[in-house]
């Protein structure tokens, strides 16, 4: 059911970990639903210079976290917010229908982290 790309990404996910002095942190999901995604961002001049994640969830959730954090590194916050779950799915060469929500979580976790940063800054 998973594409090879998902399996590869899940086997060797990028950006796993925490950023101790993160500028923005976003957490979405809950353990009762089987997915928690936590995204850490390091931001300089409104540019994401580093992104890391920790995820409790299935292979699709972990692969989505890896791919999404990879995609936003180097982007401006506004451009990062333009990355939608469909873009993550495309990079992963597809997700099974019942796993699409994992890519949505990744989009939301990033948005939450950016919001956290903006809220703190404001």
């Amino acid at each position: 059911m998973y594409s090879n790309k998902v399996l590869e990404t899940f086997a060797n996910p990028r950006n796993v970990g925490e950023i101790s002095d993160a500028d923005g942190v976003g957490t979405v999901g809950n353990a009762g639903c089987g997915d928690i995604m936590k995204v850490y961002l390091k931001i300089e001049n409104d540019i994401i210079i580093d992104a890391k994640f920790k995820t409790f969830g299935c292979a699709a959730a972990i692969a989505s976290s890896s791919t999404a954090t990879e995609m936003i590194k180097g982007l401006s916050l506004d451009d990062a917010l333009k990355i939608k779950n469909a873009d993550v799915v495309e990079k992963l060469e597809g997700l099974p229908p019942q796993k699409i929500h994992c890519s949505v979580l990744a989009e939301e976790a990033i948005a939450a982290a950016i919001e956290d940063y903006r809220a703190k800054k404001a």
Partner: protein, 395 residues
């Protein structure tokens, strides 16, 4: 471990070579329709009759009480819908358990839509039903009790003979789904006091797409699949001769080798449980230690999610299951693991290891080692676990 380690024997098993060999004539030269009067047909019906007689003997049943179906799911559907339909004038209440296989649960839900009432009995933390609860649940309008023999996820084994003897005294029809039980428990329909019993060949090294419904003589349930005169007009459809021959051969081999196989598998399984419990922190065995299928071990590993454990093990050549294979299309945590009181977070972390006759100690050792590494890795990725402190917390 180049060919992969298969610890998912509760999902399906490898077709035994001797079973395939027994089927081969019927996949080649002896292709006649078992309903045909000519030589080709007579060869086929002879094989089917012999298979039916052998199956009956192995189950302590009469030959005429064995009906072949397309598998366990059809057998369960037939038993429950057939009984509901036949006895709805007598009553519309059915008693079953909360931990049945979807083949039973979904079928009961269908019947609820049609105006039947179903009591889904709870089980204790070991996954066991109490006979007292069955007795309390029964009403004047109860027409059927259906209790699975052994659970497909946690392997808990129910007191079928006792429930059966109560049902008989009450004059209530009693069905058991013995799909998971048959590979390690010797079944005798009379000792078990069952009126109906479901089996599926692919769970005991037989072919896929063939099963049995045992129906005690005198019990008259409605048909599920209507048409020609096959199976004494009770189940229509061209006879699946190779499947039937394969099922019978697989059952013979299973029963013949059961004592020995059980001993081997149980020793390996106990060794596996012991090592996992000793070597991996924050893990829980789901289900009890007694009254459990010898092949089954089901663990929750805290702070990490089951499917990701499964997929990591798969990357390392180990095949296991999270929840039941049949519900893997779903995102829900296992209804069985929830039913034994496991919190929902931990239910999301459950993994079933089901050993088989081919499982070796070497495979188990490799699995424990790989599992340790996998759990460690996934915990290091989890926001719920703090690696430095070596502890976790559900937020």
């Amino acid at each position: 471990m180049k060919n992969g380690i298969y610890l998912d024997n509760a999902a399906t098993t490898r077709l035994d070579e001797r079973v395939l060999e027994a089927m081969m004539p019927y996949l080649t030269d002896i292709y006649g329709n078992a309903s045909s009067l000519h030589f080709f047909g007579r060869q086929a019906i002879k094989a089917v009759d012999e298979a039916r007689a052998s199956v009956a003997r192995l189950l302590g049943a009469k030959t005429g009480e064995i009906y072949f179906t397309s598998g366990g799911t059809e057998s369960d559907n037939w038993a429950v819908k057939g009984a509901a339909n036949a006895f709805q004038r007598k009553g519309k209440h059915i008693v079953t358990t909360a931990i049945e296989h979807p083949a039973m649960l979904e079928t009961c839900r269908e019947l609820e839509k049609q105006g039947f009432e179903v009591t889904y009995l709870e089980v204790d933390k070991d996954g066991l039903l109490s006979v007292e609860d069955v007795k309390k649940a029964v009403r004047d309008d109860t027409i059927l009790i259906s209790v699975m023999f052994a659970n497909n996820e946690i392997g808990s084994i129910q007191p079928i003979a006792d429930i059966g003897s109560f049902a008989r005294d009450e004059g209530i029809l009693f069905h058991t789904d013995a799909v998971q039980a048959v590979s390690s428990i010797k079944l005798d329909v009379n000792e078990l006091n069952v009126d109906m019993l479901s089996l599926s060949a692919h769970k005991f090294h037989g072919p896929k797409g063939i099963g049995i419904l045992y129906i005690r003589n005198g019990v008259r349930i409605s048909k599920l699949i209507t048409g020609g005169h096959q199976e004494k007009s009770a189940r229509a459809g061209t006879t699946n001769t190779p499947g039937i021959v394969g099922l019978a051969k697989a059952l013979e081999l299973t029963v013949e080798n059961m004592a020995q196989t059980n001993k081997r598998i149980k020793a390996l399984r106990d060794y596996f449980i012991e090592r996992v419990e000793n070597e991996i922190e924050f893990c829980h065995l789901n289900g009890g230690r007694e009254k459990r299928l010898v092949s089954n071990a089901n663990f929750s590993f805290d702070f990490i999610e089951g499917e990701s454990i499964l997929m990591q093990l798969d990357l390392k050549g180990i095949a296991v299951s999270s929840g039941s294979a049949c519900s893997s299309g779903s995102l829900e945590p296992s209804h069985v693991v929830l039913a034994i009181g496991c919190p929902i977070e931990q239910a999301h972390s459950s993994i079933r290891f089901s050993l088989g006759q081919h499982t070796t100690k070497e495979e188990i050792d490799y699995t424990v080692q790989t599992l340790k590494e996998t759990v460690e890795t996934l915990r290091s990725w989890s926001p719920l676990f703090n690696v430095e402190k070596g502890e976790g917390k559900y937020v």
